[in-house]
């Protein structure tokens, strides 16, 4: 490995010596690629963009209960920090499992985890590893519910990326899993969730469960 490293750097330096001058770093605003029409930062705009990106927006826990009932699902994974608050509001017919047992992967019909932030420009949910109770709970079930405090919004993709902390894994989710590999026909739910939901949780009522 050390030999390969030395060899690659030696070759690179030799090749780069051929250059009379090296291209300087071009100066540009970090949000240069944000389209003018997609600027702005409001919850309403974010909800609109979420829907455009195939994410369902749910404004209350009772509305989430209605959605789950409508889909006929009763058992799913839930972040253990969120579970106490949600289980009361969702009612006894919905079972929330606070751990993800890999041997029961198909039993989790939905997964509820926290989102760290949202990006208004693209209707994107930001899930940081340290805020996600279990990656599997966010990717394996057919329905993924990301709970987001609507105050945690970035206006642009550039802002979100440049303000990331040192979290080892951040995933930006814009809608459900999808593919157009077979004849270009769009099908949702390939490996990840076939339904992506954003639940706005007003954390002022219960700061303990602030996502």
């Amino acid at each position: 490995m050390a030999d390969d490293r030395a060899l690659i750097f030696a070759r690179l330096r030799e090749s780069l010596e051929r250059l009379d001058c090296r291209t300087p770093y071009p100066e540009f605003a970090a949000d240069v690629a944000t389209p003018p029409a997609r600027r702005g930062n409001s919850r309403a705009l974010f909800s609109q963009r979420l829907r455009a990106a195939n994410t369902q927006v749910v404004e209350s826990v009772s509305a989430l209960a209605g959605l789950l009932e409508d889909r006929g699902v009763r058992c799913g994974y839930c972040d253990p920090v969120l579970a106490p608050r949600l289980s009361t509001a969702l009612g006894p017919q919905i079972e929330l499992l606070p751990t993800f047992d890999r041997s029961r992967i198909d039993d989790y019909r939905f997964g509820i985890t926290r989102a760290s932030a949202g990006i208004v420009e693209t209707g994107t949910l930001v899930l940081k590893d340290r805020d996600t109770s279990d990656r599997l709970g966010a990717v394996a079930p057919w329905i993924h519910v990301a709970c987001l405090d609507p105050r945690d919004l970035y206006s642009t993709l550039a802002e979100a990326i440049t303000e990331l902390d040192d979290d080892p894994n951040v995933i930006l989710i814009s809608g459900h899993s999808q593919t157009a590999d077979v004849e270009g026909i769009m099908i949702h739910g390939v490996h990840g969730p076939g339904e992506q939901v954003c639940l706005f949780l007003n954390q002022e009522e219960d700061p303990e469960t602030r996502p």
Binding site: R11, L136, P168, V170, Q178, G184
Partner: protein
């Protein structure tokens, strides 16, 4: 050989395959254009900016590569350098063996295609699983991807249904939704069974060490939730200076590749999972592979290394659309493949030298490139290089251009030919005495002769202008 290799390959393709490729590629062109023009007043300005950014990175690659290595190690990842594809394969095999796994999940990675990684892992007794749906079908069929974004652009739903049936994934059913559900059901347990998952990298930030992975299916995410070990295999040119550059490059990559504003998933992986996270890799290995790239930087072909693998150049290429990616006989098809393929191949410049001739030089590939690579210029340079180096392979099937060359260098003769050119309308070109030209005219016709009109118009206009 009377035909160029690429032309001969295209001649043998079924009409259904050609139609699938043409429709698939054209839809990419339309979606890209629609999103870019809707979003930006001047998308070309962004392309030029991104081109400068990528060129800057390549011109300082030694420094950025050193920076990314340092940062990844600080993040807890292990960094490996591989001078060749063989060396990269050895490193992958060592890591996979040490993990004790049999099943290995893999996301789409063009760098891994350079190693023929899935086949090599299988030949060593492992069970590699391509998890991108298109790549999975390619693997089932022991085929190769024919497009860098749409690997099965050359297959119809009937082909896929037959492939699933043959491989025990259900009775024949060509409904794309059924096909997708079957793939989902098959792979879910494999994601959990595999202790190792392999991905490529769309970009690696030298500032933070973040590896950006762009997908729509969620396969990379599932792999990174199920496995204990993550191997990133990336060409050294994938490095970018910092996180602030990601927003620009992701915006252009995604719009150019699929016409979306964002893909469903963009994962930014800086290191092994956080201590509080119960799922995901505890080990992260990043293999930075050279495989002839270091000989390209600093030279006149260096701009090809700006490529961010969006596939827009092949979607817009009239030659690709009528020949498929397999006609390019390498990992990278289309216009970017015609340049990069010969440059990366070990001693393959001679064997693939004909690819530079497989272009009309219409310029469409250069016009759509999100990082402003002057692909037609690079193709022309490769042609010149093949002439200079007397690579006879480059000229196979190409009609001799000696007469044209002579006329083009003698203006008086050229003018005379312009006047007499109408004769060509009366020559039966399919019986032309030059075999390569005859082969060319087998499937092509010329429009009626209109030569000389521009010269006459120009002369007239100049005369009128001088009269005042």
């Amino acid at each position: 050989m009377n035909r160029q290799a690429l032309d001969a390959y295209a001649q043998g393709l079924d009409d259904a395959v050609l139609e699938a490729i043409d429709v698939g590629a054209r839809s990419g062109v339309d979606k890209r254009l629609e999103t870019l023009t809707e979003d930006y007043d001047d998308p070309d300005a962004l392309r030029r900016l991104a081109g400068l950014l990528r060129q800057h990175t390549l011109d300082h690659l030694d420094g950025y590569l050193s920076q990314v290595e340092k940062r990844l190690i600080e993040n807890g990842a292990r960094v490996h350098f591989a001078a060749t594809t063989d060396r990269a394969l050895e490193i992958v095999l060592d890591i996979v063996r040490a993990s004790g796994t049999r099943v290995v999940t893999k996301s789409k990675s063009m760098a891994s295609e350079e190693l023929d990684l899935a086949r090599r892992l299988a030949s060593e007794g492992f069970e590699p699983l391509e998890t991108d749906l298109g790549e999975f079908v390619v693997q089932l069929d022991d085929d190769h991807p024919s497009h860098i974004v749409k690997p099965i652009i050359h297959k119809t739903r009937r082909d896929v249904a037959r492939s699933f049936e043959r491989n025990g994934l259900g009775d024949y059913n060509d409904d794309p939704e059924t096909i997708t559900r079957r793939a989902r059901a098959f792979m879910r347990r494999k994601f959990l069974e595999a202790r190792v998952t392999i991905t490529g990298a769309n970009f690696i930030s030298a500032q933070s060490g973040r590896v950006a992975l762009v997908t729509n299916e969620g396969n990379a995410r599932f792999g990174l939730a199920g496995a204990d070990v993550h191997i990133v295999l990336a060409g050294i040119e994938k490095v970018i200076p910092g996180d602030r550059d990601l927003a620009l490059l992701l915006s252009l990559l995604i719009r150019s590749a699929t016409g979306q504003r964002m893909t469903s998933y963009v994962e930014l992986v800086a290191g092994p999972r956080s201590p509080t996270q119960p799922s995901g890799p505890r080990e992260m290995h990043v293999i930075l592979m050279d495989a002839n790239r270091s000989s390209i930087v600093g030279g006149d072909m260096a701009p090809i290394l700006r490529c961010i693998r969006c596939g827009a150049c092949m979607n817009s290429c009239p030659v690709y659309r009528q020949s498929s990616g397999h006609a390019y006989r390498g990992v990278y098809p289309g216009p970017m493949g015609a340049v990069l393929g010969p440059l990366l191949a070990d001693g393959g410049q001679d064997q693939l030298a004909d690819l530079a001739r497989a272009s009309t030089l219409c310029g469409a590939c250069g016009d759509v490139c999100p990082v402003d690579i002057p692909i037609p210029d690079l193709i022309a340079r490769l042609r010149a290089r093949s002439v200079k180096n007397q690579l006879t392979e480059a000229g196979h099937g190409v009609p001799p251009m000696g007469i044209y060359s002579f006329l083009a260098r003698h203006p008086r003769l050229w003018r005379l030919v312009m006047r007499l050119g109408w004769i060509i309308d009366w020559i039966p070109l399919r019986r032309f005495p030059v075999p390569t030209a005859r082969a060319w005219f087998d499937s092509r016709t010329l429009p009626r002769w209109r030569g000389g009109r521009f010269r006459r118009w120009f002369r007239r206009t100049e005369r009128q202008r001088s009269r005042g």
